[in-house]
Symmetry: D2
Subunit: 392 residues, 4 copies
Amino acid sequence: MEKPKLPNVPRDPQADYATAAVAARHDLCERVAGLPLPYLAGAPVPSELAKGNIENMIGYAQVPVGIAGPLLVHTSRGTREVYVPMATTEGAMVASYSRGMRLLSLAGGARAQVTAEALSQHPVLVYAAADGALKAAEKARVLAERFATITSEITRHGRFLRVEPQVIGRRLILRLLFATGDAVGINMAARAADLCSAALARETGALERHVHGQDVEKRSNTRALVEGRGRSVIADVTVPRAHVEERLRTTPEALAAIMRTYATGYAQMATHNWLVQSANGLSAVMLACGQDVAYVTESANGFLDLEVTSAGDLYAAVTLPSLLVGTVGGGSGKGTANECLAVLGCQGEGHANTFAEILAATVLAGDLSLMGAFCANEFVAAHERLGRNRPT
Amino acid sequence: MEKPKLPNVPRDPQADYATAAVAARHDLCERVAGLPLPYLAGAPVPSELAKGNIENMIGYAQVPVGIAGPLLVHTSRGTREVYVPMATTEGAMVASYSRGMRLLSLAGGARAQVTAEALSQHPVLVYAAADGALKAAEKARVLAERFATITSEITRHGRFLRVEPQVIGRRLILRLLFATGDAVGINMAARAADLCSAALARETGALERHVHGQDVEKRSNTRALVEGRGRSVIADVTVPRAHVEERLRTTPEALAAIMRTYATGYAQMATHNWLVQSANGLSAVMLACGQDVAYVTESANGFLDLEVTSAGDLYAAVTLPSLLVGTVGGGSGKGTANECLAVLGCQGEGHANTFAEILAATVLAGDLSLMGAFCANEFVAAHERLGRNRPT
Amino acid sequence: MEKPKLPNVPRDPQADYATAAVAARHDLCERVAGLPLPYLAGAPVPSELAKGNIENMIGYAQVPVGIAGPLLVHTSRGTREVYVPMATTEGAMVASYSRGMRLLSLAGGARAQVTAEALSQHPVLVYAAADGALKAAEKARVLAERFATITSEITRHGRFLRVEPQVIGRRLILRLLFATGDAVGINMAARAADLCSAALARETGALERHVHGQDVEKRSNTRALVEGRGRSVIADVTVPRAHVEERLRTTPEALAAIMRTYATGYAQMATHNWLVQSANGLSAVMLACGQDVAYVTESANGFLDLEVTSAGDLYAAVTLPSLLVGTVGGGSGKGTANECLAVLGCQGEGHANTFAEILAATVLAGDLSLMGAFCANEFVAAHERLGRNRPT
Amino acid sequence: MEKPKLPNVPRDPQADYATAAVAARHDLCERVAGLPLPYLAGAPVPSELAKGNIENMIGYAQVPVGIAGPLLVHTSRGTREVYVPMATTEGAMVASYSRGMRLLSLAGGARAQVTAEALSQHPVLVYAAADGALKAAEKARVLAERFATITSEITRHGRFLRVEPQVIGRRLILRLLFATGDAVGINMAARAADLCSAALARETGALERHVHGQDVEKRSNTRALVEGRGRSVIADVTVPRAHVEERLRTTPEALAAIMRTYATGYAQMATHNWLVQSANGLSAVMLACGQDVAYVTESANGFLDLEVTSAGDLYAAVTLPSLLVGTVGGGSGKGTANECLAVLGCQGEGHANTFAEILAATVLAGDLSLMGAFCANEFVAAHERLGRNRPT
């Protein structure tokens, strides 16, 4: 396992928000990215660049960006060491993620792996009775090849994977699954779903057709939890006991034990998000990197494991079944988003899975750090020290 | 009911992303806000201003902001007509919300009302057995006045409301409710929860204490759906049939009917978000206005009603049980966030409920518009026309 | 469509619980069953017959059995007309189901269809890290044929269908699916799951193995709602408007409209049971027919459709994704259970799907009847008249 | 803590289902009950006795009853030692519960406590718009005293507790809570809810009124999980390590650890039942004791705790938030049901809470036993040995 090489993020205890301190970190990011990052430094992004991303434009919102890290992560395309840009106004958050990332580095780095890729769409076709819907479900299976052709005619990047029809009463839920390359791919998939469902509706005489009839999009739901959606990712790490004790000031046993209380709490609430602060880290990196932050509703769901190994070390894992991110399309290729992806080495084609894996490792870092703080009862104190902006 | 007065948002069909068109709209916003909005126009926000909101700062992310509207809404503090700033890179979204807002204006404006305010915290105390937890639950009720005092000592804005203890096995879930004024108030409430739970733990000999033991924060959950959290808001409107037919090119009956298919789809997924695109609108306005977008995971949950009145018109309502927003604290008071809140007339103290009501009306506009588009099968086509940035 | 032939259930308005009236109905059941039904008539079932079904036996509980119907249903094996035995002590329930069944008969009978059969088991294997679990998931797919062989060696009736491994953190959820013939098949499937998971654990060096690790059994859950479990069944009917008006004293429109209110209520509760009184009918028939009533927790979940057709009639459907019943094994083949199955023409091998379809049609009848009563505001009144046993 | 006094249940290894062995146990039950139990012994219950409990009666279903125990439990009305009658055809189940009960006795008995009593009803009133519903919600609070009077006029046993109105869109969910004495009380509560909601509807001009509009009845749902319904009960015990090792052939650590795997499994399924086999024990005792087994859908939900104490012993707890049982009304007072309640010392008035506490302790016994078996990998083997009735 290769050694971490990136330096710690430079800080100026006296004037960390002064131009010089900010510029020093910005310079470091430029060196890492291998290209200039003018927009992050304050150069106004030209309004013309926003074409296709917004209507009735009046300018740009400016959201502070900090870097957490360095994060050492063993991805499915090799080991990466990166600074992770996070856009947020929640004081103490970047510091919390950084602390977790240092722990991951000490442990030899997080491992992360995209385990599935499939963007689902669920048009609904309505028939006169259940019998019609059931026959249409069979027909849908027969038409799989046609669906593949239809999809290939409207997209170069996307690909039809398979159809899994289900029937509820007289409604056929036409579950369609697509590979979407390095994009989230929702527009492409929606277009294909429209054409595929229209073809099936024609052949089967559907009374109604609703392209988005089972609207899985941008909402917490158990389909995604069970079946996955977008990219499914796991990140994990084994942290030697000594590092847990030294860095988190707690023990593997205490971390494993606290999960029991959290599980009881989550169970009563019937939540689909069994992580601790996934929504924080994901929304901050997604925002920095030009992702659609509305997807955090789906993406933040998943599972956290904190367990003691037989050797007395800490095993920690984050499972994100439905992470919806891309390095192509949407807001990802322009302005500061493009620059932040460059800092991560994840601009454009060929990088979406790596980006997803870095995100999962980031969530792992944040949950380790926060659970450690909870264990050590440091949480409230840390917020008092770092977050000075809120009213009391 | 007063007449709408704000002009339509000016657009330049030839060059709508050119400096001139953007500046024209920016000027309009400055007139509405009654103050200059330099940061939205591209003046770099000083890095010092981000102090307390971020660590390891490297600069600012720039996210395109457009305005939807005008939105006419009858709030609990009187009628407002506003342009709603939305920060997003999802093409077609601002246009979709604008379309819905025009419909609301034609219908005489949306009505919106905050129906409850209470930020919950759920420390968990663990005892040797259920009996100890049950006795501590009784003690917690006795200590309510002390909790109020404890809270008043650490905050001017927040106020202890009540305690509702619950016991699961040997764990006491100490549900504490706080009024938080115009802030989300999470840091204040967490601090108070820490002190209150510590006081109870001391008096009752708890074995363990977890300040965030039932972690309701930033996750979709049914507690919030049933009990509310933060601000609970309802926005509704009755739209005359003629406007539905003319503007949405569909009928009240078709809109009511489509809900049946959506309900079946949502039911199977066990989602807590029974709206259509709440996550889109909320995340865009929250981002523009310096809110913590991680809260969209909780805030986007709720209910949509689309029904036919006895007179044949459309009744539409949005219920958001757990909207977590504020006009004080966090990132709300600085830079472009402050400017966007000024555009809404919602800067600073005294405006959080109005802001919440505008948000609910915005969600109503977006869901009406999108459901109308789904009914009229226009959705995919609209995306093709406006959103030109995605890969195919 | 053939005509209904069975007579109405004879009632004696003066003395309906007297021996004569009960005997008259019992005689009718014997004629229908084509064999004597002594145990239902009060002959004590020999205790020896309970061997294998109970321990520490002290006797038999006696639960009143009434018959609802006749029910006319078009099953996947032809049209059936049956009286449905229900064991319950809830006054008014059999009458409510009977009323619904009369409506189904008037409408030409319900249609019912088993749409899927697969009993799932989910052993969990734990590895040192996610990587091990992911490799084991691949290995599981490779071993599918071996799993089939293992299963065939321990059962004649059951059959391995497929394996669908999933990974959460370092845990492999080994989803195994079995066909179970006319039995519920849980013991056989559990045995096969034990052997299959043991084989995989050996080959992959699992640290821990939990045969029932994801315990889907006898609990309401969304896996079953989305994927189905046991037998998935749909029953539906189109009821002419005149019959709705005459028999239910309401309209198709009112029935469709009331669903909107119920949907809102169900959504807030995040229930998995979107029917009205499925638990009533299922538990009563399951109890009469020797099924394991603990399965009503899973079986009662599903969906109800009540909609107006373009011709102004009522379309009604019941979808039960996870009905766990059998006509072989458990308590089904003995004593009064065997007699009740005989009344249904569903004893023993070859009849489980028909039994499931009759159950779904029964649920449809009950939900139609109760929703009709709710629409007509007759519910409380009916209970007052028939159920005379409760304290006030 | 008083010593256990009841003898072990007598078994005849040679002929345990023969008349003599069954009669010996039946005799023991008669001695415990202090009265003859003829119906359990096979005397046919007169059909007239079923009046008010069933329609179209044809006879009685006979379901085998066995006794588990003795169970030693410290209830809120003193220590009880009882044999628990269970009606089931699932071989091995009574034996499993008995094993758990022996463990509880060794540990000095389970503690059990009803922690809340409130039967909820949720009529829904629909208004023209949200504003009307919100005003009606305020009016409902004002009318609380009238609701109490209305309730007192129709029932001696029931009592109005409080009203907690909620608004979703234009719908008022009129949450009404009732104390129901020793009955489940659903008919009484439904009647009161009808009258109370009618009174409110008249005063507020509701457009629609649905007495069962939010239908919480007989379905798994999160309202009950969070708020409780019927009787909420906790049963717990601390089992010395030596007994865990000797009787369950596992360790407290192994039992605590296995919960982690189960929690992951439950979380993915979004189940509301976090116990292991609650549905088994509850349905069996409820069936024996004349309860409405359809309520097992609600009653079986809840939480299981298995944890290691600081002294290395096992702490185990069962929390049942929504147990719907009674010792008065329904089928509880007649025939074999009455006899089984007599065996428990829980016939009639004054005993419902004790019955509920015995049920919770029973669930605790069953879950301890089964989890112990899972830990020791004995589950499949035990079924092979005892359950001989199923097809393979």
